[in-house]
Symmetry: C3
Subunit: 287 residues, 3 copies
């Protein structure tokens, strides 16, 4: 998921365009959908799209950002998504604790969402940043963390574009995700004209193990795909790790060495994630 394109739920005319884009994932938004009386309209549009042949056939990840847990709209959002198999991830705004995550998971179950639908939890408040490890580990259905710097910083007068500030938040999320064994994904970058700024932030996230970045406009997709594209050497190494793990497993050995390095579980999981992100089935690679 190198790039994750944001699409407003009230603009269904953009859904097909988003599917045709180069983004690895599309994230349809029910939050900033506009006035409350258009929420229902957005929900209906998203449900129709998820049920469509196009959505069911796409190799892209399909994500829906629902309204916050404590809002009046959260349950209605989930109900609109019940039973839709093309949905991959629910993006949850502003959870602040493991309890919030467990409540969201219970709501997913109550609404009848398929078990295959996982949670992408936003880390976008100071409390959430402090408890990011707890949020990431609250339930096996948490698949990843996404950093939201605008909400995290701006209400408190913390400069959103200061690289040291950005790094400190990225680092905290990276370690929390690493601890939980989930992926982490960088949030949005508002200035559409500042391509270099977008790339600099994406490179910083990549150097912290993030797998991709949100794009609020299709013009940002190419840069995200470029920055987060794993290198050929990296993929080849990942393939050797997965192959060696399969061989060691077949021989009943636990530990093994690849490229002169002792490989343990965290390395193996990273290699599998890399290959999966690059569209290579790790089971294929291991054959």
């Amino acid at each position: 998921m190198r790039s994750k394109l944001f699409v407003p739920g009230v603009r269904p005319e953009l859904f097909a365009k988003a599917l045709a884009s180069a983004a690895d994932a599309i994230s349809i938004d029910l939050v900033d959908a506009g006035p409350a009386d258009r929420k229902a309209e957005a929900r209906a549009a998203v449900a129709a799209f998820l049920a469509s042949e196009a959505a069911r056939a796409t190799p892209k990840l399909i994500i829906v950002r629902v309204n916050a847990l404590d809002s009046a709209h959260f349950e209605a959002d989930l109900q609109a998504l019940a039973g839709l198999q093309s949905l991959d991830l629910i993006n949850l705004p502003k959870p602040e604790s493991a309890a919030d995550i467990r409540a969201a998971i219970a709501a997913l179950q109550a609404a009848g969402l398929p078990e295959t639908v996982k949670l992408l939890a936003n880390i976008e408040t100071p409390t959430a940043l402090r408890r990011a490890h707890e949020i990431a580990q609250a339930d096996p259905r948490v698949a990843g963390l996404q950093l939201g710097l605008g909400d995290l910083f701006e209400p408190y007068g913390i400069a959103r574009r200061d690289p040291a500030n950005v790094h400190a938040a990225l680092f905290a999320v990276a370690l929390a995700a690493a601890e939980a064994g989930v992926f982490c994904c960088d949030g949005a970058f508002a200035d559409l004209k500042d391509d270099e700024g977008f790339r600099a932030e994406a490179r910083m996230a990549r150097a912290l193990g993030f797998i991709g970045k949100s794009c609020i406009h299709p013009s940002q997709i190419a840069a995200a795909n470029e920055v987060f594209q794993p290198g050929a050497g990296e993929l080849a190494h990942a393939r050797r790790v997965v192959e060696a793990a399969a061989a060691a497993g077949a021989q009943g050995r636990g530990a093994f060495v690849v490229d002169g390095k002792m490989i343990d579980l965290p390395f193996l999981k990273r290699a599998q994630a890399l290959l999966a992100a690059a569209g290579v089935e790790s089971t294929d690679a291991a054959r």
Copy 2:
């Protein structure tokens, strides 16, 4: 409180000068007052000053830094301050836990300090930095956090002037204050001849949402006032936020948009704090 001027409690001849200075706050010190036998003298001088017409009339914030909670002088310090309405904040050195804060608040009450007197808690030990969120949230009378880098770093051989070290501590305090909804204020800078060093540190603190910086000499006040002065655009935006909140409240609406941005409680609190810091009554602005 862009600038907070430090005045030794044993130098009462400096109190009037401090009031006449451009500092937004003055902080009279009972800690580094000198030998123990001069503590009583300092207390008497501070009490006399706080009772004076000048102290009662000044628009400046008046702060007294008392001796540490576990010292023999703490209670005597508080007793000397009982009933003095001109006092705004007690600056507490070296609290390390929520329990320390609660003990301090209990002592304030026992000594008969007015309810309007709030606490400014210093974050100046490694334990306090780790628990800064807990210290900030321990009691509603905690109004702010102040970072003390000398005490935090120097005993452990951590370079006080290294910008990366300084940023990491500032970031931790900024997030803890943000989480608690209290302000944060930067500590002192020892090298009086290094104006650029003072300004660089102040700018870093400002970019993390700190509202001001301690000054150990009047020569540092102008730089602090300059760096922490909110810009005209910033104040105008804050005024629009407060006005829109009043309008939305009057119409029974919760959410509203200002300058294209969805405004929620943290943004509103920041706007109110900015206007208050700039000497603009937010209720005026909202009219």
Copy 3:
């Protein structure tokens, strides 16, 4: 312990060379000793070396890195070290909690290691970094923390050589060690040809109060000794602090001032540690 030279346990021919080197400490390794069937051989070689006259006479610190607590080799490693007085520190890989430390200490006692043998706990997983303060404070026999950046970062795709990443991890370990009153030591640097890279990382660690750095090859020792060598002014100040503490103690006073600075317990401990690291007995200095 400015420099800590790594020696594989299966290469006993290197032990004498290591003793003859300029390293302040040598760390014999039972982990990367090679295939499991050579572990026993490494153990025997290390035990023989520790019992030798040369090991008993050296002023260098002698450290043995044992296999991880949850491995089949951990207890056998400790049993091989029972009763050997020349051993100073057990270096424990991958503890993640206070409970891990307590289990390790219990195992040290069960195996009959002398009480003088302390623990050097590696911080080398994301969970350990989050709990570093807890690990450092779990038992008085924890003498220090050592940061392991390769294991901490690489499985998660976090760039090992990115200075901002390195600083964030060093800062967390420095504060945890400071809080516990134990030393901290920087880990290894793999690129033997990059002397400037080694020095840059060592300088960053030193500016965070680390006392030394691991060397995986004798060619790195000189740089480590140079970077972590306390300056003459620093040592002279430390000597004055220790002398003033002795004088104040003799007069029954608690607080005292050295070089214009109020000295409390953390400063005194740092001064004693500095003098000890520089080979000066602080009791001598205090005489």
